[in-house]
Amino acid sequence: MPVVQLIHVKDVTDRQGVNNMTMSRRRFVKLGGALVAACIAGTTTASASQSFSGYPDRYGMLSDLTRCIGCRRCEAACNKAYNLPEPEIPFEDESVFEEKRKPYVADVQSYTAVNRYDVNGKPVYRKVQCMHCEEPACVSACFVSALKKSPEGPVTWDEKVCIGCRYCITACPFYVPAFEYSSTFSPKIQKCFMCYERIMDGIVPACAEACPVEAITFGKRSKLLKLARTRIWGEPDRYIDHVYGEKEVGGTGWMYISGVPFSQLGFPMDLGTIAYPEFTRDFLSLVNLTLVTWPAIFGGIYLMTKNREEITGEKPDEPETEGKV
């Protein structure tokens, strides 16, 4: 730590005599040391990235809720792709629809879940999983960068650096990430990773591949958005005019189109269109400013009080060791 070293040097070279010279070298060096420390701390807390329009050619998913038949084959495929444990209720059993699973039921045994909603007497199915936000709250919360928005689109998690603080869970507006509380030595953060490895190998994510009715479409987000709009324009009676995820929380990688209002399907409707990292950006931008301003203000005030004492001839009011041997 530079403060320590600098002050050490100064203390050895100085002795009693210098005590009366107010703006002595030692004091100057001391304040300098504080400033150096500030700069070091400052560089480590550089503010968040500037407004970000997203990686080009990133992938996304489009769920068409008018097509989904609630067969849960996507769940089964996901379970198989990630070698997750057998579910308590088999994938063919419709009794799971009696309660809403994920995100409101804590569950680390699955990355996705299909829930059934009864809208005007007709069942509507909604698949729940990580939304792969364009500028994710979880990524900006993660202070070891274990969570990352990959250029390909999926939000990934690095087990090697995660320390299990769970700020990502606190931050996620969709209540998606789950923590493996029951594991003592390697608790994992669990959520959908959009089959990042498969994408890198050029294979479509497991759920999209398994869907028998093409309710889940995988592709470049820009193209999916066009596809969503085309469907809405083509069949205005079948769809409501809203692509969920186009603008919500600054845009999500996973988007939905539906025949009934999203508010009736348990979608959070009050999230706004501001990307979550924006909420802390202003605060973080003050960090460096403060680190430099405070030493100036308080160092200055300290020297002023010192100076006053010298002028009036008072005994220096400072810790006893400041001069005396």
């Binding site: 968040a48 030595f185 605060f283 006893e320």
Partner: protein
């Protein structure tokens, strides 16, 4: 019930043994152990023992054994109390240190060492709480050396808490060196006082406010009466008040329970110091109440006032609103007891505020919102008991409750 570590007053210079003198307060080991069996110690020991069993359970079988293990409310009492509530009171070190060393307010010198010790222990135990709560605590140094996430407010908190813990260790070390009789190194550390104090201001102001800023990332989850973009500044102001009132309350407690360790310089000046702090706290809390009101106006959250959460908010707010007047009046009629009582009440208000933000008003929309698991409560209680025991151990040995010049 007395809080003193052993029942008798120590014997003057009977033991020739240095270890006996330093560690066992001048008694032989046998005597010391025998005298440890006071009612207070037995009670404290019981709490610590039960807590230790639960902590062991957590490190063998996983966090879900002692916490709610919730994926909606991942932070429970361990962080709600240990980090978010404990740290504002630990501002004592930086606030009193600044007053004495930077602004040269001699009047507060008798309490400055105690304030710094309280701050240091507060941070130390915040880290202890964190170590219990983190999923992989052995990786606690990762944000410093292995992998950086500078866009996170928590990154700032982690860096600043660890740096500040180091700073406070240095700031407090002269008392420890005094105890060990290491005069040279004590002098050397004291030479850094000003630099350390200024570093303390930088680190404290930022991370006290950062603890509030952490919740800026959860706009939909924290109740609108508590969520405001002013959160960082509200946290900073309450921390300044919290640090001051904590010194007042603890000073009163040591005066009652650890009379033997209170030096005359400390005891004789305490009334004036308490009144001075009361005056300052009155002003600080006035500004807080003003900012809190304007935060409600700014976020336009008035509509929530007449709801159950609104009533709960009003209770918290009224408490804060009454405090500045109580301090003002207490100082005006020079009633030290009233100021001390107001200080205690301020602590209660801050505790309620922090628990509201981190636990009670968080996830307010979710049905069936559980607060915490009882075992987590016991663990928190037990760690706090250890903190008190450590504080007592140090105060019994080191010249904490005294003006530096009298050492």
């Amino acid at each position: 019930m007395s809080i003193i570590e052993i029942e008798d007053i120590r014997k003057p210079e009977t033991s020739q043994n240095w270890i006996n003198e330093k560690l066992f307060l001048g008694f032989t080991v046998k005597e010391y152990v025998k005298r440890l069996f006071t009612p207070f110690n037995m009670f404290a020991g019981l709490i610590v023992l039960i807590g230790a069993i639960f902590i062991l359970e957590r490190f063998i079988f996983g966090l879900d054994k002692i916490t709610e293990a919730s994926n909606e409310q991942p932070w429970g009492l361990l962080l709600g109390v240990g980090l978010f509530t404990g740290v504002p009171f630990s501002a004592s070190g930086f606030v009193v240190g600044t007053a004495v060393y930077i602004f040269g307010l001699k009047k507060y010198r008798p309490v400055v060492k105690n304030a710094i010790l309280l701050g240091f222990l507060g941070y130390l135990f915040a880290v202890v709480f964190l170590m219990i709560d983190l999923g992989r605590p052995w990786r606690i140094y990762y944000p410093m050396v292995i992998s950086f996430g500078p866009a996170s407010v928590m990154f700032l908190v982690a860096w600043h808490v660890s740096l500040y813990l180091t700073v406070q260790a240095f700031e407090f070390s002269p008392s420890a060196f005094d105890w060990l009789g290491l005069k040279k190194i004590r002098k050397w550390v004291l030479g850094m006082t000003i630099a350390l104090t200024i570093a303390g201001i930088m680190l404290s102001t930022l991370h006290q406010s950062a603890l509030g800023a952490m919740f800026l990332l959860a706009p939909g989850k924290l109740h609108p009466l508590w969520y405001t973009s002013y959160l960082p500044w509200l946290h900073l102001i309450t921390a300044i008040a919290g640090g001051l009132v904590f010194v007042v309350v603890v000073s009163k407690l040591v005066l009652v329970f650890m009379k033997d360790r209170v030096e005359p310089s400390y005891r004789d000046n305490l009334d004036n110091i308490t009144l001075g702090i009361g005056k300052a706290t009155s002003f600080i809390l006035f500004t807080y109440v003003g900012l809190r009101l304007s935060s409600i106006a700014y976020e336009n959250a008035w509509g929530y006032i007449n709801t159950p959460f609104g009533h709960w908010f009003l209770l918290e707010f009224m408490l804060f609103a009454a405090l500045p007047f109580m301090f003002y009046y207490g100082v005006k009629i020079r009633n030290v007891g009233l100021v001390q009582f107001s200080a205690l009440l301020t602590m209660v208000a801050i505790i309620i505020n922090r628990l509201n933000i981190s636990i009670i008003a968080f996830n307010w929309k979710l049905p069936g919102h559980e607060l915490f698991f009882w075992k987590e409560g016991i663990v928190v209680l037990s760690v706090l008991t250890i903190e008190i025991l450590v504080y007592r151990w140090i105060v019994n040995r080191m010249p904490v409750l005294s003006d530096e010049t009298h050492v």
